[in-house]
Amino acid sequence: MSDPEPAPERGEPVVELSGITKRFPGVVANSDVNLTVHAGEVHAVCGENGAGKSTLMKILYGMQKPDEGTISINGKPVDFRNPHDAIRAGVGMVHQHFMLADNLTVRENVLLGAENLHGIGRAATQRLAELAERTGLKAEPDTLLERLGVADRQRVEIVKVLYRGARIVILDEPTAVLVPQEVDALFDTVRQMQKQGFTFIFISHKLDEVRAIADTVTVIRRGTTVGTADPKTISSRQLAEMMVGSELPSPETRESTVTDRDVLRVSELRLDAEGSDRAVLDHISFTVRAGEVLGVAGVEGNGQTELVETIMGMRKAASGTIELVDADGNARDLTKLGTLARREAGIGYIAEDRTRHSLLLTQPLWANRVLGYQTRPPVSKGQLLDIAGARADTERIVREYDVRTPGIDVPAAALSGGNQQKLVVGRELSGEPVLLIASHPTRGVDVGAQALIWEQIRTARARGLAVLLISADLDELIGLSDTIRVMLRGRLVSEADPATVTPQELGSAMTGASVEEGE
């Protein structure tokens, strides 16, 4: 890799990682990584899935010990035995996967481990309120964390870091679950704090975000630093090439393949919240046609998850009908069927949370191929499993979808997120589905894998597959969809044309700023 221009100096180096090496069984996560972060900057770290970013940050935060290498904070060499040491040195970290306890309150989550700072009484409450104000956290301190949405959880994480008086804040993929407005709000906060002298290390796959917020960017590939650049002068395309050594893919749909044959007809669907008659979904009607990608936009928590799970039969609709039409035009009422029957009728399902809904983490890859298809060839014959068939078909998916794995006998947990996702996509496109329900199909997946997944969806669509796409990534949504519907508070409120709509317009429709335009 050519070494691009070094970024202009900004103040003293506050973090210096040099020669960091970390090995895990079977993998070298970091090898001889060097990273220098200067005071008051936002320093982005980019890299593919599994490049070793999180590992590096965990080392800086004292959660893991490097096998080799040294860490200096503010010019002084340090040896962190645990996060407590790091916190004392002024390092705070917001983790890629939230580090929150659902059954504790917001206050408890923040105070945990930092009770000495302001006690657990009034002083603590007051400090908490100040920080909540600063980060825009609206939740009451005594609400249980499980009630909060993702954006608020993110805020709680940031409050946690600030509460501990961190001056160096690590944000590990903080934007993966946020909508544009929320990302903007986050960035505002970051910029404001940057002015107050905080230093940020910011990890993201989204290159435009990196370009928007970072002062410096360091790229990591396969565990080593590839180089450091100034994001203001480097293009996204160049950055991506540094990361993966290939072209930046784009989600743009080429020519339209929409036919006039209906595949999924949903009408007047209604879902009630558990144990009450409050509607979570109401008056949901739409149709997806063969060869069409119908995108659903919406801020998380507005019913997209529930919609998908209702169509899949994992939740029971209170009223309304769901019909699937096969290639010969025979409509089949799915409303009363169970999940398995719906899958057998030809629905493929990429769930939004792959570890919870798509994978058996401790089971080998070939067993994961069986999940959801246990009644159908090639993975089963009658009541018996066809293990040879399942293995062969898993090999096929690994090949066709470029799943990077040492073999098909490793447990799914041993794959990185992106590779897990490729496996899931491969599985759900097996067995000739007529409809694919794809929830956040590329969430947390690196650009290479993302391109591959998009390509596979497009290919299937060209063959006549109908796709219901849910995504928080508005570029993806606009690029892939033939039609976009916006979901707000359990209703489909408006429609947008992906050819003309901008992410900003879509974002304001999603937040209800333009409800009146719909319906």
Partner: protein, 365 residues
């Protein structure tokens, strides 16, 4: 190879450690450990002890399988204890009430036992599925309640009859019994040992080769993923619990049909709890459970011979506890050693294949 090492070393380490701990206890109480262990081993080959051990192990094996089925679904069926006793008394009553042609009679009793076990397991299963009652509580309660039910059924005003000072069900006629396998002076092995082996094989096949077994494991591992994959976890809970109960229903039968022919108030209790230990020792694997059952039965039998040389037989209980703990600790230690070795090997070959052990325990990933 490392897999063999990972499988066999831990139990050996554990037994060595347990022997060490017990030796200390023996020395404190003034006994000679060598003599004690020598007696335990030599008695195994004296008289019918070896065969008795296998017979007892068949009972433990069934109990272990019953518990393991529940564990596959993350159900903690402490209730095997209650289920086998309920099934035992029902099978004895029903079996003693009729005379059917040979074989048919025995098969009939076995079916009744399995059904009765499943029936008693249906209570916690239904409570769990419809009302969300924790199976741990309900089975703990049902384990006690079964004592009352057995006492009620066995009472001579109901189905029992008094023999001397004992009370037992009516004797099952020879047509209902399962003939033993005579081994000369070594004793008679229960015919049920073979049936237990068949049940074990069926368990393995069910788990690894059938769609049902897959669904069972899937919902045991992740109810959410299973649900998205079209597996109804409530249904699986119900079926797993009933199956577990049905196997539990067989636990009393080796002794009932092979030796006792009646179910008496002096019938042995506690097999269900032993089953938990045995299942865990065998890591829910049918062959592992078999080894666990044999080891456990051996220790039980050895305890009896210890008394012959005036050694406190609590030593056997202490050894059982120590073995259970040290087997699992040893597995963990060996696993960690393997992992570290793997880590060192990484530099050379990158595509390591030793990852499996780390995650196969459902550990933090």
């Amino acid at each position: 190879m490392s897999t063999w090492r990972a499988k066999l070393l831990p139990p050996l380490l554990a037994i060595a450690f347990a022997v060490l701990i017990s030796s200390v206890a023996l020395l404190i109480s003034g006994a000679d450990p060598l003599n004690a262990f020598g007696t335990m081993l030599s008695q195994l080959f004296a008289g019918t002890t070896a065969v008795d051990t296998v017979n007892l192990a068949s009972t433990y094996y069934l109990a272990g399988l019953a518990v393991a089925i529940g564990f596959q679904m993350n159900l903690f069926n402490i209730g095997v204890e209650g289920q086998y006793r309920f099934a035992g008394v029902i099978a004895a009553i029903v079996g003693g009430a009729f005379v059917l042609p040979p074989v048919i009679h025995a098969v009939f009793i076995i079916v009744v036992g399995a059904l009765a076990g499943a029936l008693y397991a249906a209570i916690p299963a239904i409570l769990k599925v419809t009302r969300g009652v924790s199976e741990v509580i309900s089975t703990i309660m049902l384990n006690s309640i079964v004592i009352g039910i057995v006492a009620y059924l066995i009472d001579d005003e109901q189905f029992g009859e008094q023999i001397g000072n004992n009370v037992a069900t009516k004797e099952i006629q020879p047509s209902g019994l399962i003939p033993g396998i005579p081994l000369g002076a070594a004793g008679t092995m229960f015919g049920f040992v073979l049936i237990a082996a068949v049940v074990g094989a069926a368990y393995w096949f069910m788990l690894n080769r059938t769609r049902f077994g897959f669904e069972l494991k899937a919902s045991g591992e992740s109810t959410t993923a299973a649900a998205a994959g079209g597996v109804n976890s409530k249904k699986m809970t119900l079926i797993a619990m009933l199956l577990s109960g049905a196997v539990a229903g067989l636990v009393a039968l080796p002794e009932l049909l092979g030796r006792d022919h009646v179910y008496a108030i002096t019938a042995t209790t506690g097999y269900g709890f032993t089953g938990i230990a045995v299942a865990l020792l065998g890591r829910n694997h049918p062959a592992g459970i078999a080894l666990g059952a044999l080891l456990w039965a051996f220790l039980d039998k050895a305890a009896v011979s210890l008394e012959q040389i005036q050694v406190p037989k609590e030593i056997a209980t202490i050894m059982q506890g120590t073995i259970v703990l040290s087997v699992v600790v040893a597995y963990e230690i060996v696993r960690r050693a393997d992992l570290a070795a793997e880590q060192r090997r990484v530099g050379r070959a990158l595509a390591g294949n030793g990852k499996r052990s780390s995650v196969s325990e459902g550990g933090a990933v």
